[in-house]
Structures are given as structure tokens and as C-alpha cells.
């Protein structure tokens, strides 16, 4: 049996009718949301999709390779600042140019940080990624004549697909309308593409090798997996995904500040993955949506929103370590078993 054939067979086994139906239904719901929801909530869904991409990228390391990075703000921020620099210094307004530049820039940053970090595992990996990501933060903060310092850089609404949308549907100058409709569908399309790519990656032989490294590094090495090289590639892919999320985030937010490079932002990405459940593929995406709503709610409800989120995180780790998706899966399995009994 040839390797590609077995992969195709395995893929077919994974794409059960039930799963495909669930994905189709989710896509349908996401597709009609802007028609039902008020613009504010559509924007929140956009934020959820974007943070979902970031968490998905992050989870390739935590969930699939077993590396907990506390430095992913570096990639998110690099994506955001790459777009902002294009606007400020070259007058570029094309979203596609932002994406190309942002992903390339975050790949470069991941290549540099990863070269040091993947030599380590466990806690060392985490705090090293954290410390190195703070180099970028301190530069963004201190080199204010380039980066705008704490004020950050503004990013106006970009043109999508070279203005094809605008020509097809007539010019809409209202920013909210742009963000809540055209930009929402743009983000959704990129999200679907990114999720598909990530799904293929984690189910590919490469993804399986990463999981082997996660479960037992020594055995993986014995089977012939080049552990450090695989970790490095996983780090690059992870950084590129999180960078992509940063690029998509910046037109929505309209502004990028050093805060997205500061390490508590990395903590948020970690939070999302844990909230949804990092042992599952969909967990981080669910976690990103829920976290975003949770934060919006907590910030509007109290100035002590960090306290609220901290209590939730501690409670989650102590009582629900498999996250929302993991716990839901366990409940479902338990229900099935009790029905059979």
C-alpha cells in the first residue's frame, strides 16, 4: 500500500457524513449571520474568527507538538505592524498585499525566534519564547519615530481583491457597513481556507509525526523523525497562522498598538486554546469565540475584568482541564454509554 493511498483512505475515514454535516451547518450559520445580527455583533463574530485563526496556529504547537508558547504575541503583532508599515511608508491599501507582507514578516520572526526556542522543550521553551517576543514589544514601544510608540499606527479600510467588490456592488463609503459585510465575508473566506489548511496539516504524515513527538520524543526520534527539524517547521507554520490573524485583525481594529506585542496578549491566546480545549482540533476556535465574548462582556461589566477572567482561568484549569469542547465530548460519550446501559 502506497503512502498517499493510505492517507487518502484515512482522510475518507475521518470525513464522516455527520462531521461534514456539522461543518456545512456551521458554515451556513456563519454565512447568514451578518444578515441577521446587528453590525456590532457581526464585528464580534469577525474578531472571533480572526482570534480563531491565531488560536489554531498556536495550538499546532501546544496541542499537536506539546510546546506551550507564551510568545505568540510576537507573530500576531508582527502581522499587524507589517500591514501598518505598508500603509504608513508605502501608501499601500491592498488587503492582499497586507496578507503577503504580514505572513512573510511573521515567518521571518518565527524563523529567528524558533531557531533559539526549539532547542528547548517544556517550561524553558515557554519562557524563552516569552522573553524573545518582548524584544519586539520593547522595540515597538521605544522606536516611536518608526512605530508611533504607545499611540500605535492607524490603518484605514483596505481595498479587497483590488476593489473588485466595490465595482460589483457599488461604492459604499460607510466604514461600519464595510466591516460588517464585505470585510466579514472576506475574513470568513480566509478563515475557512486557513482552517482547511490546518486540518490537512494535522492529519498529514507531518502532523502525525508532530503528535508522535508530543507523546514520546525519544521514540519518535528512534522511528526516524527528525525531532528538532519538525518542531522548527511546526513553529514556522504556527507563527505564520498567528501572523495572518494579526493582519486580518488590524483593519477591523483600525489601529495597532504595542499592546498586541506585549506578553499578556500571548496569555490571551493561550487562554483561548485552554478554554476551548487544546486536545481537540476545534477546541481553540470555539475557545476564541467564547473568550472574545467573555472579554467584551467582562470589560463592559466591570473595570476588574482581569480579575473575572483570572478566576475563570483558574477554575477552568482546576475543574475542566479538557476545556469546553473536551468536556462536551466527554458528556456526549457518557450520555451514549448511559443510554446503552
Amino acid at each position: 500500500m502506497s503512502a498517499p493511498g493510505s492517507v487518502a483512505a484515512a482522510t475518507q475515514a475521518l470525513l464522516t457524513p455527520g462531521r461534514l454535516a456539522a461543518v456545512a451547518l456551521s458554515l451556513l450559520v456563519l454565512g447568514v449571520l451578518p444578515l441577521i445580527l446587528p453590525p456590532f455583533d457581526t464585528l464580534q463574530v469577525s474578531y472571533g474568527l480572526i482570534l480563531g485563526i491565531a488560536a489554531l496556529g498556536f495550538n499546532l504547537l501546544l496541542g499537536y507538538t506539546g510546546l506551550l508558547s507564551f510568545g505568540h504575541s510576537a507573530f500576531f503583532g508582527t502581522g499587524a505592524y507589517a500591514a501598518a508599515f505598508l500603509v504608513k511608508y508605502w501608501g499601500v491599501r491592498s488587503m492582499e498585499a497586507f496578507i503577503v507582507a504580514g505572513v512573510l514578516a511573521s515567518l521571518l520572526v518565527a524563523a529567528l525566534i524558533g531557531a533559539v526556542c526549539v532547542r528547548y522543550t517544556r517550561i524553558f521553551f515557554g519562557i524563552l519564547a516569552l522573553a524573545l517576543s518582548q524584544v519586539l514589544w520593547s522595540l515597538a514601544l521605544k522606536l516611536f519615530w518608526v512605530t508611533g510608540g504607545t499611540d500605535g499606527l492607524r490603518v484605514p479600510t483596505p481595498t479587497l481583491l483590488g476593489g473588485a467588490f466595490t465595482q460589483a456592488f457599488g461604492v459604499q463609503t460607510d466604514k461600519t457597513a464595510f466591516l460588517a459585510y464585505r470585510y466579514y465575508y472576506y475574513v470568513l473566506a480566509v478563515f475557512v481556507l486557513a482552517t482547511t489548511v490546518m486540518w490537512v496539516i494535522v492529519h498529514s504524515p507531518f502532523g502525525k509525526a508532530l503528535q508522535a513527538i508530543r507523546d514520546n520524543e525519544v521514540r519518535a526520534e528512534f522511528v526516524g523523525v527528525q525531532v528538532r527539524r519538525y518542531r522548527y517547521v511546526a513553529f514556522l507554520v504556527s507563527g505564520a497562522f498567528t501572523g495572518l490573524a494579526g493582519v486580518l485583525w488590524v483593519p477591523l481594529n483600525g489601529l495597532t498598538t504595542p499592546e498586541v506585542l506585549y506578553w499578556p496578549f500571548s496569555g490571551r491566546i493561550v487562554f483561548m486554546a485552554v478554554l476551548g480545549g487544546f486536545r481537540t482540533f476545534w477546541g481553540p476556535i470555539v475557545g476564541a469565540f467564547v473568550y472574545n465574548y467573555l472579554e467584551v462582556w467582562a470589560v463592559s461589566a466591570t473595570v476588574y475584568w482581569q480579575l473575572v477572567l483570572g478566576v475563570i482561568l483558574v477554575a477552568l484549569v482546576l475543574t475542566m482541564p479538557t476545556g469546553l469542547v473536551g468536556t462536551a465530548g466527554q458528556l456526549l460519550a457518557w450520555l451514549r454509554r448511559s443510554r446503552r446501559a
Binding site: 516569552l130 524573545l132 518582548q134 496569555g267 476588574y304 482581569q306 480579575l307 482561568l313 483558574v314
Partner: protein, 291 residues
């Protein structure tokens, strides 16, 4: 000559504060294999409690007594540690270390806002302590006396910690637990108690650092998060889990910060991380790390 003396003293001053924070972090890691992300916030707790108590007592207490009141800041951080370890960390020792890191990150968020809740969003200061010492002339350079006091506290704390870990019976148990927790438990060491004691001492050191720095820089929100990153750089350079490493790392970082702030303030932090990266490249476990 004057500038040189002042630079050296400033370096030692930063190094003292950094050592107080980093030694606690490294002690906790060495014994319990936990990196406490809330460690910087315990440093902030020390600063806030000290500022609050000194603020209440200033005027009614003789200035000399105010110095002793600073210890209450360290005591408050130690108390917080003694409560947090059994309640928050103990249930997680059997879980993968990611969870331990996460729970301490949650504690960081909680402590950060608790400080805001109790003492409000504005900085607290109590310079009555530092004012009493005036300034001292050393080798022709005029230098604040309180900073000298902080340097002495840092040196004293390093000596006391060394004697404690290497010369006392408790220190033996501490090192035994650090090297092989199961074997130590099998030989009759009460590991649970050693853990809570090590964590409490670690928090005490952080709190002491916060308390002694408070008369100079005040107690402000965000000081913990900032201090944590610098402490990480110190322990990464020195080697996580090594007290000697924390001392040497603190001196290096203190010196680089002093020179950096004066001559190249823009890239001072970046340079520190670069040094940490170079050290790790040459010696993966840090200068004094074991593995």
C-alpha cells in the same frame, strides 16, 4: 571617576532588587519545578502593602521604625504564598506542567486586579523612608543613602539565603527534595511541608524586593508584570533553579540596564534579551544551570 562610581553603585542597586525577585523565582523552580508567573505580582504585593503601612505610620512612628515596617510588605507576600501553594498549586502537581503555568497566569490576572481593587488605580508612594537617610559621599561621588541601604539588603539577603540553603538542616531537606522528590519523601522528608515552605520563602524574597524598592519608585500597577520579565532574563542567563546563577545574572542585568539607560535607552531591553539568547546559545542551561 564620579560617573564610574555612580554607575557601579546604580548597577549594584538594580542587581539587589533583581536578585531579591529572581532568587525567589529560581528557588521555587529549583524545589518544585514550577515557574510562577504570578511571582512579579507578589513583588507588587510587597510594594503596595509596604507603601500602605508606611503611609499610615509616617508621622506617628520614629523614622527608624519605618524601616522595620517595610518587612511587613515582605510578610504579606509570604502570607499570600503560604495560602496560594496549598490551595492553587498542590492539586496540580500530578498534571502536566502546562497546567501549572496556566494556573499561575490566572493568579497573575487575579492579583493584578486585586491590587487595583484594594488600593485604586493611582500609584502609592512613601518616600518618608528614603528621605531619612539623606545622601552619602563615596569616593567623591554623592549618592542617596537609601540606595546604599538597598544594596546592603540585597547582599545580606544573598548571604542569608546561601547560609539557609547550604548550612541548615532545613536547607538539606530543601536540596534533597530538589534533587529527587520521591527519594526525599521515601527517606522521611515531609515534601508537602518543604513545598509550602519553599514557596513561602520565594514569595517573601519577592515581597522584600517590592518593599525596599517602593520608597524610590513607588507602588504602581503593572510593576509586577514588568519585573517578572526582567526576572526571567536574570534566571535564563544564570540558569533556572540556581541561586548562584540568580546572583550573577542579577549583577549582569543590573549592569547592562544601568549602562543601557544612560547611553542607549531605546534598545536597552532588546539588548538584555539578546544577551540572554547568546548565553543560551553557548550554554543551554544558563551559566550555572544543571541540565
Amino acid at each position: 571617576m564620579d560617573t564610574l562610581v555612580i554607575h557601579v553603585l546604580n548597577s549594584l542597586f538594580y542587581a539587589s532588587i533583581l536578585f531579591l525577585i529572581a532568587s525567589g523565582l529560581t528557588l521555587v523552580y529549583g524545589v518544585m519545578r514550577i515557574v510562577n508567573m504570578a511571582h512579579g505580582n507578589l513583588y507588587a504585593v510587597g510594594a503596595y502593602v509596604a507603601a500602605w503601612i508606611v503611609g499610615l505610620a509616617a508621622g506617628s512612628f520614629p523614622p527608624a521604625a519605618l524601616f522595620l515596617l517595610l518587612l511587613l510588605g515582605a510578610g504579606a507576600a509570604a502570607l499570600a504564598g503560604a495560602i496560594l501553594e496549598p490551595t492553587m498549586l498542590r492539586p496540580l502537581y500530578r498534571r502536566p506542567e502546562e497546567y501549572q503555568l496556566l494556573v499561575t497566569f490566572g493568579l497573575l490576572l487575579i492579583l493584578e486586579d486585586l491590587l487595583r481593587l484594594v488600593w485604586g488605580p493611582y500609584p502609592l508612594t512613601a518616600s518618608a523612608v528614603s528621605d531619612t537617610l539623606g545622601s552619602i559621599t563615596i569616593l567623591g561621588a554623592t549618592y542617596p543613602g537609601y540606595n546604599i541601604f538597598v544594596i546592603l539588603i540585597g547582599a545580606g539577603a544573598a548571604a542569608a539565603l546561601w547560609a539557609f540553603v547550604y548550612k541548615t538542616r532545613f536547607g538539606v531537606m530543601l536540596r534533597a527534595t530538589s534533587q529527587d522528590m520521591r527519594m526525599a519523601a521515601a527517606l522521611g522528608v515531609n515534601v508537602k511541608r518543604v513545598y509550602v515552605q519553599a514557596f513561602t520563602i520565594g514569595c517573601f524574597m519577592a515581597g522584600l524586593g517590592g518593599a525596599v524598592v517602593m520608597p524610590i519608585s513607588g507602588a504602581v500597577l503593572g510593576m509586577g508584570v514588568e519585573a517578572l520579565i526582567l526576572a526571567f532574563v536574570v534566571v535564563v542567563i544564570g540558569g533556572l533553579g540556581s541561586l548562584e546563577g540568580a546572583l550573577v545574572g542579577a549583577v549582569i542585568v543590573g549592569a547592562v540596564r544601568t549602562v543601557g539607560i544612560t547611553y542607549f535607552a531605546e534598545v536597552e531591553l532588546a539588548l538584555l534579551y539578546l544577551i540572554a539568547a547568546v548565553v543560551l546559545f553557548l550554554r543551554p542551561a544558563g551559566l550555572f544551570g544543571r541540565a
